[in-house]
């Protein structure tokens, strides 16, 4: 296990370098002059060729492509991710709080998704083909196919304006979490509960279930085994849901004025704020690698067969 983790960590380093290099290259393909875009993002009303040249020199954009990348990589290794081109603030002072805000939203959402998907999945599997199963599947299909901004607008209108229970937006108290979490949860749980349902259904037809029933084991106990075995399949999916949601909250953040990563990254991309974009890509890449590893470890914990392979 220890060796496995070490291997994983070592593989992740070249992977991160590759990811950052790809981002760097992609930004080179943009037809716009990066210095000009940065100056526009700074709101400078009139951009003269002299100012562009001066800005290029200040930001080191006048150096050759590969030198700039190596410079960046070198300071990265010293844990210095630089300063935003647009605001001049350190990248961490911008990315840190946004990351924490999005992480909070993500973790609460994933917890809700987990509970809802497992509960609905198990119930639907047990009721497969009956009215409850059909109703849940129909409603979830409808809700999951609504575009998130529309769903969000409906929920805000009903719960915040009409009933006056919750704030429309912002991040002031625990109440602020309910609507954004609901929108995120509905979107993902509608997909994930189907996986749980089919996994449970698959397990119910396994030999061991029939055998246990034949032996007269109480149904409750049999269910525990079925659920535990079904969760194995879905663990990977749930673990990967964390980085997926972490990188996919743009719409929800926009509607609920949530000061998170989604909004920050879109703005950084629009203004070619290179140090910020690179740091954002790195954070997400690390999140993917981390949770992928966590998922492997969890699966191994649930399934002794896998443990030998690690």
């Amino acid at each position: 296990m220890g060796r496995y983790l070490l291997k994983r960590l070592l593989i992740s380093i070249p992977l991160l370098v590759l990811v950052s290099f790809c981002t760097f290259c992609l930004m080179q393909f943009s037809p716009l002059d990066p210095a000009e875009v940065v100056l526009q993002a700074q709101g400078v009303p009139q951009i003269t060729p002299e100012l562009v040249a001066q800005t290029k020199a200040e930001l080191g954009m006048d150096k050759p492509f590969i030198v700039r990348y190596l410079d960046w990589l070198l300071s990265c290794l010293q844990l210095d991710f630089g300063h935003s081109y647009v605001t001049g603030k350190s990248v961490w002072s911008l990315l840190g709080p946004a990351f924490v805000n999005t992480l909070k939203l993500t973790l609460v959402s994933v917890a809700a998704i987990l509970v809802l998907s497992v509960a609905l999945g198990v119930i639907c599997a047990l009721q497969a083909g009956k009215r409850t199963d059909q109703a849940v599947r129909a409603v979830s299909f409808l809700l999951a196919s609504l575009p998130p901004y529309l769903l969000a607008a409906i929920l805000v209108w009903y719960f915040a304006v009409k009933l006056d229970w919750l704030p429309t937006s912002g991040m002031d108290s625990y109440k602020s979490y309910l609507l954004p979490v609901a929108v995120t949860t509905i979107g993902y749980a509608g997909i994930y509960f189907r996986m749980v349902r089919s996994a449970v259904l698959g397990n119910l037809h396994e030999e061991y279930v029939r055998y246990s029933r034949a032996c007269g084991l109480p149904e409750r106990k049999i269910m525990l085994h079925v659920i535990r075995n079904s969760l194995q399949v879905t663990t990977a999916v749930f673990c990967m849901a964390i980085p997926v949601i972490l990188g996919g909250t743009v719409v929800v953040e926009n509607v609920f004025a949530w000061p998170g990563l989604g909004t920050l990254s879109v703005k950084a991309i629009m203004s070619r704020d290179f140090p910020l974009i690179q740091a954002y890509v790195l954070v997400l890449a690390v999140a993917f690698i981390l949770f992928n590893t966590v998922s492997d470890v969890l699966q191994a914990a649930l399934n002794p067969k896998l443990r030998e392979e690690l």
Binding site: L32, V44, V136, M270
Partner: protein, 537 residues
């Protein structure tokens, strides 16, 4: 057992719905009560860096914190931090007598020394201020005594006072906030002399401003103003309905995301009033006259475009009458712009005739016109984030098709459009004049600038003459000469139809019914909050 599980689920759903239904009556109305005396304003983006010597921050907020020497009003230039001033005979030396007993928010005195330090700090970063031509003309700024300061120019420059009145960069920050004697790399505080102080700023969330009780012009009546970041229009509308925010005004991008319909609904709810300013600027199409291979190089084509656009209908259908149709680049309430220009009404027949005369002929009725094998097709670039521009572009496409012009619509990010403008890589694009305080001088100065309208203006026959007149008008000291030069400049660009006007933009405010004293400044970017107050019950 399976039955029991299903029953449990249904029970949970039903009880949730029941819960959602009740509890409504005892929702306390405390929130709106508490807010009744303060303004909570919806803004689409964070106020960002409040350093007024740079350009990232929101202008409305900088306008609350900082002040300039003089103020641009409807009645002309008036005293602000300077009580009076004299201009030397040669127009090169401006002597300002400063208002006494003015302090910055941090207690530091506002005096000649502070003025000198601020102006010098701006000049040390002159490359970023090239749009404001004054920045290229300042020779020195000298302290005469504690309350007298002298600004020396390299040559006479008539818009000096107008440019000193602008929200940035010539406004004053407490020298205690400077970092190593400079402002170009940031500030360690945001103390101005303005009517409001910044007391809290949560990045990307909110900013709180409190009345400056020591304000030299008297403490403002509205004691607290909170700017809340709401990027999405739907949320802004719902938050206004609920009363979480109670104030919004159109920014340069239009409406802080509220469309006309939403504003009308808010007004009908009875809780809000809608107040509109006079025309502040003009939305227009810039035509790239310098692009020789494009039909837009041909003056007849540009004139035909102008005649073929039904601006009345655009104003009525797209803006519900809130933006009146514009007939000229500057509306007549702009300084020096009240000149006689040829009216070009909506006349599609006239447009066809112009095209025929210029040799643009259609092979079959309803087809796209051609001339010497060149097709009468042009690309119009619009801002993808502006729904109004997209709709307008689609209307134009349809109207122009009727007279044999093919318009290809391309939506791009505003930054790509700006870089097209500065590299001349466009046929037509949407743009707007800068606003009353900046017009006509700043917009006209931009005619000669590569990053602005050089490509729009440089393809016309009288380009040389135009640029010479623009240069002359900025240094002219004679009011009569200036008037006649502006008349000529406006005539040339009007005749050449390089700026095709569409509508006049104005500022729209959504405010609580009880708010009084709502007025406007000479720009669409700031509001005089210090003049507002709540009606007493």
């Amino acid at each position: 057992m399976k039955k029991a599980q299903a029953g449990w689920l249904w029970g949970a759903i039903v009880s949730l719905l029941v819960l959602a239904g009740c509890g409504n009556e005892n929702a306390a109305p405390s929130e709106p009560e508490k807010q009744a005396r303060e303004l909570v304003m919806a803004v689409s983006k964070d106020i960002k860096d409040m350093n007024p010597h740079l350009y990232t921050g929101s202008m409305f907020a900088q306008g609350m914190l900082y002040e300039s020497l003089v103020e641009n009003t409807e009645a002309g230039i008036k005293p602000l931090l300077a009580e009076s001033w004299e201009i030397s005979g040669d127009g090169k030396v401006y002597t300002f007598h400063l208002r006494k007993n003015v302090t910055f928010h941090d207690g530091a005195p506002f005096n000649a020394d502070a003025v000198k330090k601020n102006i010098e700090a701006v000049q040390h970063n002159a490359a970023k201020h090239s749009w404001i031509k004054l920045s290229t003309k300042i020779a020195s700024c000298n302290v005469v005594d504690e309350h007298t300061v002298e600004l020396v120019l390299t040559e006479p420059y008539y818009p000096t006072l107008v440019e000193l009145s602008m929200t940035r960069p010539y406004v004053f920050v407490s020298p205690k906030n400077f970092i190593e004697g400079e402002t170009k790399d940031g500030l360690n505080g945001y103390s101005g002399t303005g009517p409001y102080k910044l007391v809290e700023h949560k990045a990307e969330q909110s900013a709180v401003f409190e009345a400056n009780e020591q304000y030299w012009g008297g403490a403002p009546a509205v004691k607290k103003i909170t700017a809340k970041v709401l990027p999405a229009g739907e949320t802004t509308y719902l938050a206004l309905q609920k009363g979480e925010v109670n104030f919004a005004f159109t920014d340069d991008r239009g409406a802080n995301n509220l469309d006309v319909e939403a504003m009308n609904q808010l007004e009908q709810s009875g809780k809000y009033q809608i107040v509109r300013s006079q025309p502040m600027n003009t939305n227009f199409l810039a035509a790239n006259s310098s692009k020789k291979e494009s039909p837009v190089h041909d003056r007849a084509v540009r004139e035909a475009l102008w005649y073929a656009m039904d601006r009345e209908l655009i104003s009525k259908q797209i803006f519900a009458g809130t933006e009146p149709p514009a007939d000229t680049l500057f509306s007549s309430n702009v300084n020096y712009a009240n000149v006689e220009l040829k009216q070009r009404e909506y006349a599609p027949e006239k447009a066809k005739q112009l095209l025929e005369e210029a040799g643009w002929l259609a092979e079959q009725a309803g087809g796209v016109r051609k001339k010497n094998g060149a097709v009468l097709a042009m690309k119009l670039y619009y801002d993808v984030n502006s729904s109004a521009q997209k709709t307008e572009a689609e209307w134009m496409q349809d109207q122009l098709k009727g007279i044999g012009i093919q318009l290809d619509l391309i939506g791009e990010e505003s930054s790509s459009i700006a870089s097209r403008r500065s590299s001349g890589d466009y046929d037509l694009l949407f743009n707007q004049t800068w606003g009353l305080a900046y017009d006509p001088q700043s917009t006209i100065a931009a005619f000669t600038s590569k990053s602005s309208y050089y490509y729009t203006t440089s393809g016309i026959a009288q380009a040389e003459e135009l640029y010479k007149k623009i240069n002359d008008v900025m240094v002219s000291t004679e009011e009569q000469a200036r008037k006649s030069l502006y008349r000529d400049i406006l005539n040339i660009v009007h005749e050449e139809a390089v700026f095709i006007p569409l509508t006049n933009g104005s500022v729209t405010i959504v405010a609580p019914k009880a708010l009084q004293g709502i007025s406007f400044k000479q720009t669409q970017y700031e509001l005089p909050f210090e003049r507002m107050s709540f009606a007493t019950k």
